[in-house]
């Protein structure tokens, strides 16, 4: 899990850097080549890659399985959307309070969990409870649309208004692509810092970490809050992309489960896991949709079923995820790395 002995030890090898550059370069050119449908698929893929990275931070660090991450997506989405629709606050500004609200929610959960030593399944249940509670709550807030939904005015879609997040799908695609890249850089940067080392220490052995002067509570809280804020940002982007929000859809547990798919399939605790996972699942999902359409089957739930089976298979047979497996095969590293 550690680097190769050089300063900037979580730095990427030359090979990895080249591969990344190639990848992002290709993805940046994608909108010029692919059609609308494929673009929308890629957009979702990068959403899950970004959110997966955020979730990975909490899991890999606080070591706690959050099954209620949709809470932060929803809070970010609704906060920014409400500020825009009701008060005319552009999302570029609104993202600050949106991320703050999510961070506060994360802090509350973190406070309860770490202060009262709630771990494992209880922590997971705690996160679910918070998300579900919020879902039902928002279903009854008329000012936010309740169950009828909250709608953003759909302006001229060909304008590229970055401040108000009004624009074409291409714009949203680039935003999510950039966010994914930034998340990668952020996590990589953090892991090479004091905070990152402290996170690793806590994950390895909390008691020993505390004896070395690490404030466990504060260090875990930081992870939780960063994770929540990042997730909220993703929610904000999607709110302005889809222009409608429904509590059951946004806060629902199925969304929380979706969020954990990519990082687990790709590789829990690894840097590239979420992106790999998001791509694999995206390809799987779309391939499946096409196959089903061709076969004339139009039942709901098949896609979810296949995802679940895939998740099951990964956890059963390749619990480290796809990235560690691929990395050794493709000659990137000798072992897993973060």
């Amino acid at each position: 899990m550690s680097g190769d002995g050089a300063p900037g030890r979580f730095g990427l090898t030359g090979r990895e850097q080249a591969a990344l550059a190639l990848f992002f370069g290709a993805m940046a050119l994608a909108p010029l080549v692919v059609g609308d449908f494929l673009l929308s698929v890629l957009l979702i893929v990068f959403y899950f890659a970004f959110v997966g990275q955020a979730w990975n931070l909490m899991m890999g660090v606080a070591g706690q399985l959050s099954l209620g991450h949709a809470l932060y997506v929803g809070l970010g989405a609704y906060a920014a959307a409400a500020l825009y629709v009701h008060f005319g606050v552009p999302p570029l500004v609104g993202m600050v309070p949106a991320m703050a609200i999510a961070a506060a929610a994360g802090a509350s959960i973190g406070f309860l969990a770490f202060r009262f030593r709630i771990g494992g399944v209880y922590f997971a249940l705690l996160t679910i409870a918070f998300a579900e509670f919020t879902r039902i709550l928002f279903s009854h807030i008329g000012w936010l649309g309740a169950t009828e939904g909250f709608f953003l005015p759909v302006e001229n879609r060909s304008d590229m208004d970055f401040v108000n997040l009004r624009g074409s799908p291409e714009m949203f695609y680039y935003i999510l692509l950039a966010l994914t890249g930034l998340a990668l850089a952020l996590v990589r940067g953090l892991m090479g810092s004091r905070l990152g080392y402290y996170w690793l220490a806590i994950r390895e052995d909390e008691t020993a970490a505390e004896a070395l002067g690490i404030n466990i509570f504060r260090t875990k809280m930081i992870a939780v809050m960063i994770s929540a804020a990042m997730t909220a940002l993703a929610g904000l982007v999607m709110a302005f992309y889809y222009n409608n929000l429904f509590p059951g859809d946004v806060f629902g547990m199925h969304r929380s489960i979706e969020i954990i798919l990519a990082p687990i399939v790709g590789g829990l605790g690894t840097l590239f896991g979420p992106i790999i996972g998001a791509f694999v699942l995206g390809i799987l999902g779309e391939g499946l949709t096409i196959a089903l359409e061709a076969a004339g089957i139009a039942t709901a739930g098949v896609k979810q079923l296949v995802y679940a089976v895939f998740l099951f298979a990964i956890v059963r047979f390749m619990p480290g995820g796809l990235w560690p497996f691929l990395a050794t095969r493709l000659g990137f590293v000798r072992g897993g790395r973060k």
Binding site: S2, G5, D205, T207, A208, A209, A211, L212, G213, I214
Partner: protein, 244 residues
């Protein structure tokens, strides 16, 4: 060796569900000294350590480091106050490299990662672990892990180093090596050491002062020579009616 005690423990008491583990224990550790705490298993030595290190709260009593009370402090705060400790059952960060283990300790005082890295390499060399620096800590042998534990505790730049049975399981030559290392640390770097030990070879070779615990009570103290000849001490190890 100065006269002012670096660590002052007074009337320390801890009870576990009716069993008195530590009973009104008081002692001092002088700055720059090497002090040992010995006694049969279950005498309350590690419990005392845990209370000093902030891992456990005493029922009553006072603990002060250089005059500053450590009452109510968490383990990480105690570390910042100047105490480094090892664990009786070693707790390395198994998946992290040996170097990373020590580096993390070195970050305590706010050093940059680069500074802590350099310091970590030095500390590893001091404890003879230099060539293993990239190995995952979990793959080390037990004696190596013990040395890593010491190195890591040292990395936090403590004024007082608490060593909990670091010699256990070592062969005599390994013990002698470690004794020499500690002597050097104490003399050259001025690290005050308080150690729990069963290995009398090390206790005799290292300590300036020895405290003896039995059933949670302090039953004797003095120089190693005095303590070893003390009938009360012999009795607690060998039983009553023992002829020397």
């Amino acid at each position: 060796m100065s006269a002012a005690p670096l660590l002052k423990v007074e009337g320390l008491r801890k009870t576990f569900k009716g069993l008195v583990a530590v009973d009104a224990v008081s002692f001092e550790v002088d700055e720059g000294s090497i002090t040992a705490m010995i006694g049969p298993n279950g005498a309350g030595k590690t419990t005392t350590f845990n209370m000093i290190a902030g891992a456990m709260a005493p029922d009553s009593g006072e603990i002060a480091l250089a005059g500053q009370s450590l009452a109510g402090l968490r383990a990480d705060q105690v570390c910042h106050a100047g105490i480094g400790r090892t664990f009786q059952i070693v707790r390395p960060f198994p998946k992290l490299s040996v170097l990373d283990n020590v580096l993390i300790g070195g970050l305590r005082d706010g050093s940059s990662v680069a500074t802590a890295l350099r310091a970590a390499r030095e500390t590893l060399d001091l404890l003879g672990l230099g060539k293993s620096e990239d190995q995952p800590a979990g793959t080390l042998t037990l004696p190596e892990r013990k040395r890593l534990e010491v190195a890591r505790a040292l990395a936090c730049k403590p004024r007082l180093l608490l060593l909990d049975e670091v010699m256990a399981g070592l062969r005599p030559n390994e013990t002698d090596e470690l004794v020499a290392t500690f002597r050097a640390l104490n003399k050259d770097r001025g690290v005050t050491i308080l150690l729990i030990e069963h290995v009398m070879r090390a206790v005799m070779a290292l300590s300036d002062v020895v405290y003896v615990l039995n059933y949670g009570k302090m039953i004797a103290h003095g120089t190693p020579g005095e303590v070893v000849a003390d009938p009360a001490v012999l009795e607690c190890y060998l039983g009553e009616d023992t002829e020397i």
